[in-house]
Symmetry: C2
Subunit: 428 residues, 2 copies
Amino acid sequence: MTVRFTGKKPSRRAFLKGTLASTAGVVAGAGAANAAGPDPLITEKQEWAMGTGEGVDATPYGLPIKYEDDVIRRNVEWLTADTISSINFSPIHALDGTITPQGCAFERHHSGAIELRKEDYRLMINGLVDTPLVFTYEDLERFPRVNKTFFLECAANTGMEWAGAQLNGAQFTHGMIHNMEYSGVTLRTLLEEAGLNAAGDLKDKWVYVEGADASSNGRSIPMEKALDDCMIAFKANGEALRKEHGYPARLVVPGWEGNMWVKWIRRIEVSDSAVESREETSKYTDTLEDGTSRKWTWVMDAKSVVTSPSPQSPIKHGKGPLVITGLAWSGRGAITRVDVSKDGGKTWETARLANPGQPMALTRFYLDTEWNGEEMFLQSRAMDETGYVQPTKAMLREVRGENSVYHNNCIQTWWVKADGEAENVEVS
Amino acid sequence: MTVRFTGKKPSRRAFLKGTLASTAGVVAGAGAANAAGPDPLITEKQEWAMGTGEGVDATPYGLPIKYEDDVIRRNVEWLTADTISSINFSPIHALDGTITPQGCAFERHHSGAIELRKEDYRLMINGLVDTPLVFTYEDLERFPRVNKTFFLECAANTGMEWAGAQLNGAQFTHGMIHNMEYSGVTLRTLLEEAGLNAAGDLKDKWVYVEGADASSNGRSIPMEKALDDCMIAFKANGEALRKEHGYPARLVVPGWEGNMWVKWIRRIEVSDSAVESREETSKYTDTLEDGTSRKWTWVMDAKSVVTSPSPQSPIKHGKGPLVITGLAWSGRGAITRVDVSKDGGKTWETARLANPGQPMALTRFYLDTEWNGEEMFLQSRAMDETGYVQPTKAMLREVRGENSVYHNNCIQTWWVKADGEAENVEVS
């Protein structure tokens, strides 16, 4: 075998020579960049079309164009103790497709977002395992990886709406959610590396997971789920997790409430019972009318919302063709159908799914319709592969009462007025 | 139907009262944010784990953590006339999964990246159509939308390697590529809106597409492709296109060379012949040994590259478990198989595809292997659903000679040395 390589890079001149020699009129595509300079025939009005020509447009890491500076995460002032929130909602009213860019993806911190270097990162597996282990970040990268797209929804998403229509905008009512393509190692792989013989019968076993932040945000997860589809993710949408999403590694618990997706994950303990930690008892439980609480309500039930038109995305054109669009998801599997109502749930039309539903991932739906210019009470209703149908708020209140904070997956209503503006309302 | 809504937002106090009343010990998840303050038991060394607690970590639009500041687009100084390039390569050596974040996705400008407001945007359809039309941006949003993930590869990707191993890193040899989830309207929808009866037999018809930048970057596309799967996209990975990718709308030409994906698209003319514009004659053609040129070489043939280990992503651990990973793609359909060689193509092992290949989209592959600590000549070889097999550089040179700049889809070789460092080499 002959190996050839050039230790030093060729000069640009040499490169151009090599290509120019080939045939008259052919210039290297790359070399010709910026050849178009200012043209005296271009009028002042067309100057915006010229770009800079100086190449300053090329950016190492790019941000959205200035005209989109309203497509950002937002908090709700009265929701948190600080004026600057530790909850920031995804601008779902302004997005399309299914992927949420990391830059505007929902963030929630129990003790702030910490800065943890890969070099300082450690992940311990202990408890009922054959060999307790501590992994470095580099260790994690040596195990077989998987790639999957999943939604994360906070258990509190839409929680403020239990008592009635409150927050005026899909970003605020339904924006505690994001959907990303994760790359990482399955939790099963790491647990099997430590060995589970010591745990005996796995049926009733648990893992307790905690993060490296001050809250630790410890959560108990049944072994069955841990071995099924959980993963330790280090990349989201191709690149490293952001600080606010748990850099350098977080737990992914597909279809289950977001607080279980422990960020900066540092320890996984195999145990024979749930820890019943602060984060899983004082929070994320639902108090019923009789004062008892629903417990271990991990799975996020099927849900949907119309993202446009909506209060932050009013109709700006008159009657005629209108695209109604939104998102649907289910923690129990794939979305199979979404219906849309324009009259507050009296009649329904089946929407078009942009692509076949994927398990535990956001599904985009569209209803291509004609608007008659009159007011609408827009609703969407999701169904998943288990046959579950998203309930109305009345149905949900009937079984849960009005004391709950979490797990509100009821049908949302937007009152779209004749002028195209929309408002969050409740119909019954 | 009863409609209820609150015109004013409830006070935080009222909200907390509503939830605290429910049962002792239950606090609103949102309201409890930042409750964990500094703890005297936390040692100085653990201070990094505290976050700020002030909420300043919450950001409207987030950027990567500072520790990842090397995962950025990069140019190649000698490749362009200006020191700041109008070509910026994706850092594929540092990414995983398949989605390319917009912030570090390959950019290439023929006349700089222009800033075009949605309000100023117009798209004209003219030529052999029943009714010439001009669409505003808002008009485009009223047509039925589609969502699809596609790769864009510049025809010049890997072009510098025809003459031998040149650029030391997958970012530079193969980084003129990105892969995003697009939302937009099919070109067919808009052409049918204008009406194609005037064009008669569509078999030999063309569309000529041009952008609003000074280069206009006009390209001719056969009607068959235009009606098949082309789209006018306004969103990528959920959010608006970035300035550098053609905000507010660009053409998507799945599987075909990136320069046809006209950015800031302003005009589509239906015609009975190709225009043979500057951008499709002086560039993007391949000159053969006999001086003639291959023309209309639109489709990007099946190709792959190992992204790690690679020159910018050396092996930092010793022998033992090693994940070899990379990307594969084909403009003719889905990737069906990727083989990896450690000995410069003498023997091959079939890699694991992270997910089934999707048509004209990046596919992530992994080879979970054991490294013996000795040097490797790493190669990957992609196959697509048409049965096409990615060729060696020798095979490609045999049919194309060495005058080409574009359409180099040959097998890449990384020489991984015993110390884990890697270098771009050529083997024969």
